[in-house]
C-alpha cells in the first residue's frame, strides 16, 4: 500500500502541474477575451450603478480595474486578487462575486447532483438492458430512443416539460428554486425538491443516452468475452453472469465516463437554469454575459473550469484506486 503510494507521487506531481497549467491558461484566455471585447466594463459597471457617479467614485472604480494599466499588469493584479479569494464585485447583483458564486453554486450543485445521479442510474440500467437483449427488439427500440434524445436540445426539452407539467397540468412550479414570497429560511426540503424536479429531469433526459450507449457497448464486449463463455460453461445463467461479471467489469468505465462528463453537465445546466429561471450559476453566467458583468463572467468561467477539473481528477483517481490491474501492478 505504501509502495503504491510512493509510486504515485511522480505521476501525481505531473498531473498537478498539468492541472495548474490548464487552469492558468483558462484564466489567461478568459481575461484576454474579456479585455479584447469592445464592451467597456467600467462603463457598464457605472451604467449598472444607475445613478450619477461622482468623479471620485469613478476614479476609484477605474483604479480598481486598473483601466490605465497595461493588460498584463491588469491580469496579474486580477489573478493576485483571485488567488486571495477576491473576485471583485458584480455590477449586476452589487455583491462580491465570491459570495454570489458560493450561494448560486449551492443551488446549481443540488440540481446537477440530482441530474447526474438520475442520468447515471437510468443510463446504466438501460445500457444493461440493451446489452443483454443485444439486437433484439428492446435493444433496437432503446437505441432509437437514445439517438432521438441526443438530437433534442436541452432548452427545448425544458420548454416542453414546462409547458406540459407546469403550465398545463400544474404539477410543478414554473420556475425558481423556492416559492416566491417565502423567506429563504422557511423553505422546506420538499419545496426545494419540487422546484428542482423539472430542471433536473430535463438535464438527465438529455444526458442519459450517452451513458446508456456506452454501457451497452461495454456490456456487449464483456458478454462476448472468453471469461463469460467459461462462466456459462460452469453453469452460470444470464442473470448470474450479469451480476457476477457484467457489473464488475462495466461499472467502473461507466462511473469514469460519468465523472468526466462534468463539462457537458455544467453546459446543460446553463440552459436548463435559464428555461426554468432557476437561480444557479448557469442563469448567472448568461445574465453576466448579457449585462457585461465582467467580474462575474470571469469568476464563473474560472470556477466552471475548476469544477470540470475536479470531475476529471476523480475519474482518473477512480481507475488508479479501483482497478486492480493498475493498483496492484507492483506486487
Amino acid at each position: 500500500m505504501f509502495q503504491w503510494f510512493i509510486r504515485l507521487v511522480p505521476r501525481g506531481l505531473r498531473y498537478g502541474l498539468k492541472v495548474i497549467s490548464l487552469l492558468l491558461a483558462v484564466s489567461i484566455i478568459a481575461f484576454a477575451l474579456v479585455c479584447a471585447s469592445p464592451i467597456d466594463p467600467v462603463q457598464q459597471y457605472i451604467l449598472g450603478l444607475g445613478t450619477a457617479v461622482s468623479p471620485e467614485r469613478r476614479a476609484a472604480i477605474e483604479e480598481y480595474w486598473g483601466v490605465n494599466d497595461p493588460p498584463v499588469e491588469r491580469y496579474l493584479n486580477w489573478l493576485g486578487n483571485l488567488l486571495r479569494g477576491d473576485l471583485g464585485e458584480s455590477a449586476l447583483y452589487r455583491r462580491p462575486v465570491a459570495e454570489i458564486i458560493s450561494q448560486r453554486f449551492a443551488n446549481s450543485l443540488a440540481l446537477m447532483i440530482c441530474a447526474w445521479v438520475l442520468s447515471g442510474v437510468i443510463g446504466f440500467a438501460l445500457g444493461c438492458v440493451m446489452g443483454v437483449f443485444r439486437d433484439r427488439w428492446p435493444d433496437k427500440l432503446l437505441k432509437k430512443i437514445c439517438y432521438l434524445l441526443s438530437s433534442v436540445p436541452t432548452f427545448w426539452l425544458g420548454l416542453v416539460l414546462l409547458l406540459v407539467f407546469a403550465v398545463t397540468l400544474g404539477w410543478f412550479p414554473v420556475g425558481f428554486s423556492s416559492p416566491i414570497g417565502v423567506l429563504e429560511a422557511d423553505v422546506t426540503f420538499w419545496q426545494r425538491l419540487h422546484h428542482l424536479a423539472l430542471p433536473a429531469i430535463t438535464l438527465s433526459i438529455v444526458s442519459f443516452p450517452g451513458i446508456a450507449l456506452h454501457t451497452r457497448q461495454k456490456l456487449v464486449d464483456v458478454l462476448s468475452s472468453e471469461y463469460v463463455l467459461f462462466a456459462r460453461a460452469r453453469g452460470e445463467g444470464t442473470w448470474t453472469i450479469l451480476r457476477r461479471h457484467g457489473l464488475r467489469n462495466i461499472l467502473l468505465p461507466a462511473l469514469t465516463l460519468q465523472f468526466s462528463s462534468f463539462a457537458e453537465l455544467f453546459g446543460g445546466s446553463v440552459l436548463a437554469e435559464n428555461v426554468f429561471s432557476y437561480p444557479g450559476l448557469g442563469s448567472a453566467v448568461s445574465a453576466a454575459g448579457l449585462n457585461s458583468d465582467v467580474p462575474l463572467l470571469l469568476g464563473i468561467t474560472v470556477f466552471s473550469a475548476l469544477f470540470v477539473c475536479v470531475g476529471n481528477t476523480i475519474a482518473n483517481l477512480l481507475y488508479g484506486i479501483v482497478d486492480p490491474r493498475i493498483r496492484e501492478v507492483s506486487q
Binding site: E226, L229, R232, A233, R234, G235, N249, R325, E328
Partner: protein
C-alpha cells in the same frame, strides 16, 4: 444396451452448423462439425487430436450446450445413457460436466482467484478449494490474487482446480498445453491423468498430437469437423501399420521423429466440404465410392474408422 450404461458420454452423428450472412450467396449454413462419433468411458482420457482450425473447440461448446445463438445442432448426445437435452445440459454444466479452458483469458480480470474458483454456487466450497490448492501446490495467497498476477503454470492449475472443485465426472480440457514448456505440459497432463485415475472421464482436445499419443488411453483423430478414426493410443504409438485410416497414418508420418513427411493439399474449408468422404480430395486410396457418399463408421481391430478401405 450394456455398453451405453457403462459409458459416460456418447456422441452419435453430431453435426454443428452456423448460419452466416455471406457477401454473395446471402444466408448460408457453415458446417463446422459433421457426423461426429465419440465415446468416453469413466477412468479414461480420450484425446481429440487434429490440426488447428478443425473446429475442435466447438465440440466442447456443443457438449456443454453453450454454442452461440446462430448455431444449429443435429445428432444425439448421451450422458450416462440418457439423452443430453438443452435443459439437461444446463443442469449438468459445472456440476457433472466441467470445462477446463485454455488460458487465463477465461478468468474474469477483475475478480479474485478465490471467488472465481469457488464459483457461483452456494454454499461456497471454500474449504474444499483451499485443500485443492494445497494439493495442486498453489500458494496460500493465490486466492487473494487477480488473474493478471498469476504465472502461466499457476493459471493452468487454477483452471484445473475449478473442474476438480465442481466434482464433475466428465472433464473437457480444451487445448491445455499451448504456450507451455515440455515440463509444464507434462505436469498439466499429469493432472488430467490423475483425474481419470479417480474414475472421471476426460476429453482432451488438443493439436499436440505427440502428447495426445503419449498420454491418452484412446485417441480420436479429428479432421474437417469429424472423427476419422478412434483407436487405442497404443496403436498410434505402434506406428502406421496398426492404424486404420489414411489420414491417421499421414499424421503419424508427419511427426518430426517419424520422418516429417507432410501430405499434400489442405483441410477443406467449413463452407466448402466435399460431398463424399471428407478426406477424399487428399487421399491416395480414393475410389469413386469415396467421392459419392461419406463412409459409415466401421469397427476394425478394436477401433472405429470412417473409411471404405480402412484395414
Amino acid at each position: 444396451m450394456e455398453a451405453k450404461n457403462e459409458s459416460l458420454l456418447e456422441i452419435h452423428d453430431l453435426s454443428v452448423a452456423f448460419r452466416m450472412y455471406d457477401q454473395v450467396l446471402g444466408q448460408k449454413d457453415l458446417q463446422v462439425i459433421s457426423d461426429l462419433h465419440l465415446t468416453v468411458r469413466p477412468g479414461e482420457v480420450v484425446a481429440v487430436a487434429g490440426s488447428s482450425g478443425s473446429g475442435k473447440s466447438l465440440l466442447a461448446s456443443a457438449i456443454l450446450g453453450i454454442l452461440p445463438g446462430n448455431a444449429t445442432v443435429k445428432g444425439h448426445l448421451h450422458y450416462q445413457g440418457q439423452e443430453l437435452t438443452p435443459a439437461r445440459q444446463a443442469a449438468l454444466r459445472g456440476t457433472e460436466i466441467a470445462l477446463v479452458p485454455q488460458s487465463v483469458a477465461y478468468l474474469d480480470p477483475l475478480m479474485k482467484i478465490g471467488a472465481q474458483a469457488d464459483g457461483h454456487r452456494r454454499p461456497k466450497p471454500t474449504e474444499k478449494r483451499r485443500e485443492l490448492f494445497r494439493r495442486l501446490s498453489l500458494p496460500e495467497k493465490t486466492g487473494k490474487l487477480y488473474p493478471f498476477q498469476l504465472s502461466g503454470g499457476m493459471a493452468r492449475r487454477v483452471l484445473v482446480s475449478t473442474a476438480l472443485i465442481s466434482g464433475a465426472r466428465l472433464i473437457i480440457a480444451d487445448e491445455p498445453t499451448p504456450g507451455m514448456s515440455l515440463d509444464q505440459a507434462l505436469e498439466a497432463l499429469k493432472l488430467f491423468r490423475q483425474m481419470a485415475d479417480q474414475g472421471k472421464g476426460v476429453v482432451l482436445i488438443t493439436h499436440d498430437i505427440d502428447l495426445a499419443f503419449a498420454f491418452a488411453d484412446r485417441v480420436a483423430v479429428f479432421y474437417a469437423g469429424t472423427t476419422v478414426e478412434t483407436a487405442p493410443a497404443a496403436d498410434f504409438r505402434a506406428g502406421p501399420e496398426a492404424l486404420r485410416h489414411p489420414y491417421s497414418r499421414a499424421l503419424w508420418r508427419a511427426l518430426p521423429q517419424n520422418g516429417f513427411q507432410p501430405i499434400d493439399g489442405f483441410q477443406p474449408y467449413a463452407g466448402a466440404l466435399p460431398g463424399g468422404c471428407l478426406f477424399a480430395p487428399r487421399c491416395p486410396y480414393k475410389t469413386a465410392q469415396c467421392e459419392q457418399s461419406p463412409p459409415p463408421v466401421r469397427e476394425i481391430r478394436g477401433g472405429e474408422v470412417r473409411c471404405y478401405h480402412g484395414a
